[in-house]
Symmetry: C2
Subunit: 134 residues, 2 copies
DNA sequence: TTGCTCCTCACGTCACGTGAGGTGGC
DNA sequence: TTGCTCCTCACGTCACGTGAGGTGGC
């Protein structure tokens, strides 16, 4: 049976390939105080634990949700701080609503573009000499 | 009855406010060869026509769909080229297929994001003190 | 020794934001 | 004259990309 607190360590490229980003991205997040290695080897090689891995996951999810790194940082700090700061949570809800509207617009854009692509393809096929209509 | 080719002119801030961007953004697109004013006043004030307005609309839609400005530019040029060049048309068809696949992936991404937003909102609402579970 | 991964600068890039300093028409 | 919008530089910002030059362990 696997232990619950196995807590294995990851190299920077372990995490990079797991989340499909570059090591540079992880180092950048570190320089922006969003992330820290559990420990360093003699020469400086970074070793990350489960805690850092989860933070990275949260950062990347924030990115997908359209948050800036600064926003993600304070959101994560909100998670970790067992604050009962209602004001902050309200702001979070507003941000979520905003980003949901963004997604709504994106879906409309995609629908429109797909129709245009259909029409364009038809036009092109008809314009093609020797075309047998697909 | 409104004329079909009314073709009114817009100032830079007309377009900016219509599409909720800044004049600086429009000037930047011009410097990147994506857009051009129909005419200039003596002092340099830009006047845009319907053609420029449509191009701006396409650029912004491309942005929302995740295209770079360079990509949007060549897409628009492809749309406008009424080339009877079979080779070009073939390339066009290939590009359409590519972008259709991209859109497919994007739609999946959006579906996932919406679920994450739902989950995030629920988590926050539950974390809110005095919450009545809405 | 070769090949691989790791490291730290540090400049480059993309898509604008943001003043600074100035002109033109109601 | 004041207020408004327009203009052109040009440096700043955000989130990294991309070498340059070097170290460390199998």
């Amino acid at each position: 049976m696997p232990l619950k607190n196995q807590s294995r360590l990851y190299t920077i490229s372990d995490l990079a390939s797991e989340f499909d980003i570059t090591p540079r991205t992880i180092r950048f997040y570190e320089s922006e105080q969003l992330l820290e290695p559990e420990s360093r080897e003699s020469h400086g090689t970074r070793h990350y634990g489960e805690r850092a891995r989860v933070r990275l996951k949260l950062i990347l999810r924030g990115k997908r949700l359209g948050f800036s790194l600064a926003e993600s940082k304070s959101l994560i700090e909100l998670y970790n701080a067992d604050s009962d700061n209602t004001e902050q949570l309200q702001r979070f809800l507003e941000l979520i609503t905003q980003h949901r509207q963004q997604l709504q617009r994106q879906k409309q854009d995609i629908a429109v573009l797909e129709q245009e692509l259909d029409a364009a393809e038809q036009r092109v096929r008809q314009a093609m000499p020797g075309s047998t209509a697909n």
